[in-house]
Symmetry: C2
Subunit: 316 residues, 2 copies
């Protein structure tokens, strides 16, 4: 982590729990976020793994307000604010900045495909200019496998030149180490924080001079991932990395978001955690059994299971 | 057109004009919509060509309200209401139904890729159940080249069985005639209205028993497309189809939305029409010159140029 970083080395794109009516469950969300913080994991709320683009602007504002009302520190939050429609991105970004969030993670508009770098530059410019606040720190969000609209190195360079005090870093979820390492080589020396999109790249990212990772499995394996982020120069760091990879590999055998929620529901005893919003669907019974069996074989234990349990007696 | 159709055979996904501040220009929008209606073209406002996913829910509600306040008939409107977030889809759909719109054109949630038919079925179900209004007529919107999330024939069949009075038709923008013809063969006899996503398929669609087309170039070539939709059994229908294809081919040499707006700006003398919202960008001067030259060679004339001119003297 560079000394200028606003964040810890590991952030979790926090999964969003729902209640029986299908609305976001602020109570479950607060418990989960508080637990992640206790494991030294920052809160990249409203990311891809948060089903953030399945939430309305109002639902996202409400959840952020609920976290702050519960006393969670905005200085450890990097909410996702990028939407298809720039007015939505502007509203969410303004709200995050006004709330004191240390940064925002910003998808490009993603409905139209094969758009130009000029168009993407204008989109980011429009938001930054409209927010017009020196406190704004933008972390670009590059996730071509899902958004299908990526951010080229030349676009990053142009944005950094135009907004040197505002463009703070990037989350690279391309899964392409050559892209992540190029971002670090090109821009990290100037203080630009490069976060890998998976802990699979955590050790390599830190060794190369990157900032850390923002990773789905931060939701379920927070303590161990944060441990490697602290120990990355230690002799057992490669062994820690291998163990992280083994756990991640289990979750990756399934639809990732559904699998993480199923694991949380299982370990916390709170079955309500398993719900997703359409178009995503929960694991079926066979998948759940396979997931639980594979995690048991690894000796996996959700580090904050007790903090999530709605009733003490529900834990098994 | 089947006798049960709520719409004329040709609808335009109406391009959305902006004003100098970047906000939607209701004045230009009303003029354009009124002119399209005068050419017997229905109003599929808030489609892909409308930059609808670059507009907030509030902006779309405002534009629809402005059309109705100007006296345009909701019975000829099929607003796009599908968004990534189901609460947004529900809000826009409720508003369209309450406003008396004859139908809505509904994208599936499109952020997550490779989602299951079960997840898409749940998404449509959730919206239909939440709106809970027998007046609701849903036209499914299949546009895999852009949304990257398509609607399979088996999903269409399942939705039709579950909501026979509500699922009214589909716009097929796959560009794949084998898919359009399969939709017609499977479902048109039961009154399901299949609209091709381009006038390139208009004659074939009508001959096969489909409902018509919802096509971008309806914005700029409305009169001629509507003419073929009336004359499709006439001896010169294939010749009309070829002329439509020639005009479309010119627009397709450029980014389509930018090219249509440039043509409208050029022919109406209202330069403000050329503006797009990021991430889309307007044609550059070279592209504009090439477009104007190609259209001039075809003898192209925007049928409603005079209706769009802000000042009579501005027309050339």
């Amino acid at each position: 982590m560079t000394s200028s970083s606003h964040f810890q080395r590991v952030l979790s794109p926090v999964v969003t729990p729902f209640d029986e009516s299908g609305a976001p469950s602020a109570e479950r969300f607060i418990r989960h976020c508080r637990a992640l913080l206790s494991h030294d994991v920052g809160l990249a709320v409203f990311g891809t793994n948060s089903e953030a683009n399945s939430l309305s602007v109002g639902e996202k504002r409400g959840l952020l307000d609920a976290l702050l009302a519960a006393g969670l520190p905005a200085t450890r939050m990097m909410p996702g604010t990028g939407a298809c429609a720039l007015p939505d991105t502007i509203e969410l970004t303004r709200h995050a900045v006004a709330s004191g969030c240390a940064g925002v993670l910003m998808l490009p508009p993603f409905y139209y495909k094969n758009v130009s770098d000029e168009g993407l530059f204008r989109a980011y410019s429009r938001v930054i200019d409209a927010v017009g606040d020196t406190r704004l720190k933008v972390y670009l969000y590059h996730i071509p496998p899902v958004a299908q609209v990526g951010l080229s190195l030349s676009l990053v360079e142009r944005l950094l030149k135009a907004y040197p005090g505002t463009i703070a870093g990037i989350k690279d979820s391309s899964g392409d180490w050559s892209n992540t390492s190029a971002l670090i080589a090109e821009f990290a020396a100037a203080g630009f924080e490069v976060f890998a999109g998976s802990e699979t790249f955590l050790l390599r990212t830190l060794e190369a001079g990157g900032a850390g990772c923002i990773t789905a499995t931060g939701n379920v394996n927070a303590a161990a991932i944060a441990q490697l982020a602290r120990d990355w120069r230690a002799v057992d760091a490669p062994a820690q990395q291998r163990r992280l990879d083994e756990t991640r590999a289990v979750f990756q055998r399934f639809p990732m978001i559904a699998a993480m929620k199923a694991a949380i529901a299982w370990q916390s005893g709170d079955a309500g955690w398993a719900a997703l919003r359409a178009p995503l669907v929960e694991l079926d019974a066979t998948q759940r059994a396979r997931l639980e069996s594979a995690l048991t074989a690894l000796g996996f234990r959700l580090p904050h299971a007790e903090q999530l349990a709605l009733h003490a007696g529900a834990l098994h």
